[in-house]
Symmetry: D2
Subunit: 161 residues, 4 copies
């Protein structure tokens, strides 16, 4: 399997910089996660942006759509902040012949007990098993784009109505 | 999603006991992994055996088949030692109307940098995305039972021929 | 050994809150670190403040001094943000008959690969081995208060001139 | 500070080899622990043996004594299996002008939640704070050689009667 990974930033990639006494979105973690898990697949990591997803603009989402639409690969994994993942997934609908799976994390990949490795695993398992379309893998579930929301208070993604 | 988990032991569940100065197969880790990853799914963990998979017998595999066949749920995840996962998957073929996914780990779930959380994530993503059948999720790939082997020297699972 | 721990906040205690998309100083981690390390000592954790140490005031340091001076125990461990640890240590000088050791972390205790557990271990080893006085344990070294600075650019504590 | 580290094996250095389905004593971990903790000290790691300490012989302990006695440095840290650490510490008594601190771990350094990093930190804090002699740093305590035993049932080191 050849997997094209696009990274938009978000909690999954947050690291701590002592000289700022603050957290910032850092290097994409998806590739490190795949290596640590000894995944024997071919993949490329394409860094698009390093943004908290609350700060993503319509232009940013169009840029992501153009990059993905121009990619020759069938299997696409996108790491993204959780707060606007649902909106970005909507924008990518309609790209033909691709299985596109979004994932991210509630806790940075660098944290002990982070959900990042599980979530990327879930997305990797889903992307090679699903028909073409746009999906979100979060909270241990695979949702079709347009059928899901983040329930911030409960700390999980869940089906709409 | 309701997920029935069956655990057979294997590296994924190995823990260290200082009074033995040795490692033994311990409590099933799959449930802990799902909780740590904040997976918002219903699941039950059914412990079948705590064996290194080199020591599994034909009777053990029949027991697993009977337990799974009698389960009313559609989605089945089995954690299992890697050395004979391929054989056990063969024994479960032919159970109707169930998606059965085997996974395990090359390194115990309790180890830093273990592949366990990623692999269980991969299996959870696959089980809800695939048609009925028996599958193995290892090395970041989803294989149909009967098409895969463990390449011990390379430390990975790979397609046959 | 009876150990009195005072916690002032700082990076060591930083946790991530997804609903704020931000890090804040959380529960004191020193007690958790001692439990995880199976330290067989008696200790109490006294939470004084939960502040980034850049925000500590003269009043805050006086409060810490009063709390420590009134403590009947001989062995005192203080967890503290790294940016003004040196100043706080100066303020505690002159308390009689106590071994007072400051420590903290460059990376939150909850992070994989954090220096927090090592640093608290270093402080625990030093506090029971030193004569009365005020010390800082950081970067694998034990410094007397007044002889040390944080070299922010190099990411370490080091002896003054 | 210049620190000479001698490694004898033991649980702290145990790693898992999937091709053996077993744990063996692997590369010394003390240097990795110091690097991960960003310890700003000079150190050398001298690997003496890779043995479970139940298998150490009188000759092994004499070898350790000779290596340490011939070392020009004042500060000596020894990582060692816990089951016979007490005996080895006895054998090193009487070496002049050196502070010699033994440590190890109840759980391998590679395990999540291992006591290894804390224990090495504790030994590093103690070694630079103590007068010449032979000591054991385990369970968050610093013991003089000859005053301590491992209580295997309780999983801790403790003072002799």
């Amino acid at each position: 399997m050849n997997l094209s990974i696009y990274t938009m930033g978000g909690t999954i990639d947050k690291v701590y910089f002592d000289d700022l006494s603050d957290y910032v979105v850092g290097e994409p973690q998806a590739g490190e996660i795949l290596k640590e898990a000894q995944a024997a697949i071919s993949f490329t990591v394409n860094e698009v942006l390093r943004k908290d997803s609350l700060h993503l603009t319509d232009e940013d989402r169009q840029l992501l759509r153009e990059r993905v639409a121009a990619d020759p690969e069938r299997f696409i994994l996108i790491t993204h902040g959780t707060d606007s993942m649902v909106q970005s997934a909507q924008v990518l609908k309609g790209i033909a012949d691709k299985v596109i799976v979004f994932t991210g994390a509630m806790s940075p990949a660098r944290f002990k007990g982070s959900d990042a490795s599980f979530n990327v695993g879930c997305a990797v398992g889903a992307v090679q098993s699903l028909p073409p379309g746009v999906y979100i893998c979060m909270s241990g579930q695979v949702f079709e784009a347009g059928t899901v929301r983040k329930n911030r208070a409960a700390g999980r993604f869940e089906s709409l109505g």
